[in-house]
């Protein structure tokens, strides 16, 4: 293939624009968006934040009263229970062969053999409870047959949640979107229903796929009937689902969540170049686990970074231009330890780095420029031009000083 034939960026831009322009686009449904957003904002204001001590007022009314408890179709959310206190009888939970997983004091009892977060691209692959799932890969997998899953999530009501039933769980008011079923893709019939605890801003969604609709409906109803509000225990809060924004400059947001629930924190630091210091990497016991108030949770966070070279991470990649799948990468840890890389004449080698920092950059120096030739108008990309040895040394710079990050010894064969 000659140079002129390869896909240029301009040509691709042009092709995408041409292709996109063919798509007929209607007028934006502005009125509907404004109305939906207003409805969602109002729903949020009605919610009362869950207080730190959860204001435990036990008014035992028996076990959960859930399926089928309909108080008429009411499009506006109602606020029946101002205290939001649970009246459940906790000691019996979990029942034999079951375990509890939750968010704050909202829990679901699931069979012990169920997995936790057994998903791929966000789709459950086996019977599982999903809690604090964190980042979901940008990919899609179809629903598998005969899988039941319960998803717990925290946050405001999404605009696509359309509750149609008022119900109660252990004396706490909830909004419910009744079970609906779709026969979807490749014949995998799936039923689902969602419960929302407005005062706690917690969702519980049950999904089940089955060959028969009654079976799938039954699984969904059973899963939601095992949702409880605990009076005297809480779940370890989620850390995977905290966003970069929420993590702020450190673990403060997460430590505050623990403190709000009456849990103690023991912080352990781990060195991770390029990651924000204080960023939460894990919790033990892990999020969703139900514990007694006052329990200690071990929180692993990114250690403070005193040296310039610790504040950035970098990598060196190589590939053979004709083979898109030939890419290899020397990782940050390998660079710091001093790595070796063997490439063939004609291969490209380039530096990658994490550019979250506005003031820091990674620079490189090469010995053996007859072996690695700098590509035109780039300074961090080379072509292996002749057999021999070269060394790429990487530095972190902040404008006034620079510090060595690591190096890779390149052998061109």
């Amino acid at each position: 293939m000659s140079e002129e034939e390869s896909m240029s960026e301009e040509k691709l831009e042009q092709l995408l624009a041409q292709s996109a322009d063919r798509v007929p686009v209607g007028e934006p449904p502005l009125a509907a968006m404004l109305a939906d957003a207003r409805r969602s904002t109002r729903r949020r204001r009605l919610g009362v934040a869950l207080g730190s001590a959860a204001a435990v007022v036990a008014v035992t009314l028996g076990a959960s009263v859930l399926p089928g408890l309909v108080s008429g179709h009411d499009p506006e959310p109602s606020v029946p229970d101002p205290t939001g206190a649970a009246s459940g009888t906790d000691e019996s939970l979990p029942g034999p062969g079951m375990r509890l997983v939750g968010i704050a004091d909202v829990v679901v009892e699931v069979p012990e053999e169920w997995g936790t977060n057994e998903t791929h691209c966000g789709t459950p692959m086996a019977d599982t409870v999903v809690v604090d799932e964190g980042v979901i890969g940008l990919c899609a997998v179809l629903r598998q047959p005969e899988v039941t899953s319960v998803h717990l999530s925290a946050g405001r009501a999404p605009v696509e949640f359309h509750p149609d039933v008022d119900a109660e769980v252990d004396g706490v008011a909830v909004r419910r979107e009744s079970t609906s079923c779709g026969d979807a893709f490749h014949g995998v019939l799936t039923c689902a229903s969602t419960l929302y605890f407005p005062q706690r801003e917690v969702y519980v969604r049950a999904e089940s796929s089955s060959e028969s609709e009654p079976e799938a409906r039954r699984e969904v109803e059973e899963a939601l009937a095992r949702v409880h509000v605990l009076a005297d225990r809480v779940a370890v809060p989620g850390w995977r689902s905290l966003t970069f924004d929420e993590q702020g400059d450190g673990a403060d947001a997460y430590l505050a969540l623990l403190a709000d629930l009456g849990l103690e924190a023991e912080v352990v630091e781990e060195s991770h170049p390029g990651m924000p210091p204080g960023f939460v990497l894990g919790a033990s016991p892990d999020s969703g686990t139900v514990v007694e108030p006052g329990s200690t949770v071990t929180v692993t966070v990114v250690a403070p970074q005193d040296r310039l070279a610790e504040r950035m991470s970098a990598g060196v990649s190589t590939d053979t231009p004709e083979e898109p799948d030939s890419m290899r990468e020397v990782t940050d840890a390998e660079l710091r330890a001093g790595a070796d890389l063997t490439v063939a004449v004609g291969d490209t080698v380039w530096v990658t780095w994490n550019v979250e920092h506005k003031t820091l950059r990674v620079t490189s120096e090469v010995t053996g420029e007859d072996v690695l030739r700098t590509e035109e108008w780039t300074w961090d990309k080379w072509t292996a031009s002749a057999p021999g040895q070269a060394t790429i040394t990487l530095y972190v710079e902040d404008g006034t000083e620079r510090e060595r990050l690591g190096e890779v010894r390149v052998t061109v064969q």
Binding site: M7, Q18, S19, A20, A192, P321, T352, W353, V355
Partner: protein, 165 residues
């Protein structure tokens, strides 16, 4: 100007491009309008956050990509897929249509990750840092994904004849 006015202006300026970006990501045109509507509504609910965001377009595209992913995950709740796509092309547009079909077929050869990077970078015209922010990945990863995607597209026989033109 209050949030709703600001939002209305933003929608008027960006609606068509956002819908088309969703189509290039892999949604059907009808689905793309739904996804864009949901994404923009979510943005409006948190407009104060959008307004404070260092980069409004990157923020909105991030919401759009997330909405696209979750819509695909729960597509089963909605409509059935149809095997026949209404074909509106005729006569003069034949060549244009062919180009568009070839482009969407070629995009389908990319991995989802590569596809998203290509659409945000070369259709939505987000910069490298913006694309990285919109997808929640390091800019180095944007670079390497783009490099690989361009290679796949360069080797695509469907596009080879278009390149010559």
């Amino acid at each position: 100007m209050d949030a709703e006015d600001e939002f209305s202006e933003y929608v008027a300026a960006r609606w068509a491009r956002l819908v088309r970006a969703a189509v290039l990501l892999g949604a059907s045109p009808a689905e793309a309008e739904d996804i864009t509507q949901t994404a923009l509504t979510r943005c409006l609910v948190r407009w104060s956050k959008v307004r404070r965001a260092a980069d409004r377009d990157a923020y909105v595209h991030r919401v759009l990509v997330n909405t696209f992913i979750s819509a695909r995950r729960r597509r089963w709740t909605g409509e059935r897929p149809t095997s026949e796509v209404p074909e509106q092309a005729s006569g003069d547009h034949a060549e244009q249509v062919e180009t568009a079909d070839l482009v969407s077929r070629s995009l389908a050869r990319l991995s989802d990750e590569q596809r998203a990077v290509v659409v945000l970078r070369y259709y939505a015209h987000l910069g490298e840092a913006q694309t990285a922010a919109a997808l929640g990945i390091p800019a180095g990863t944007v670079k390497s994904r783009l490099a690989r995607a361009l290679k796949v597209l360069s080797n695509d026989p469907d596009l080879s004849e278009l390149r010559g033109r």
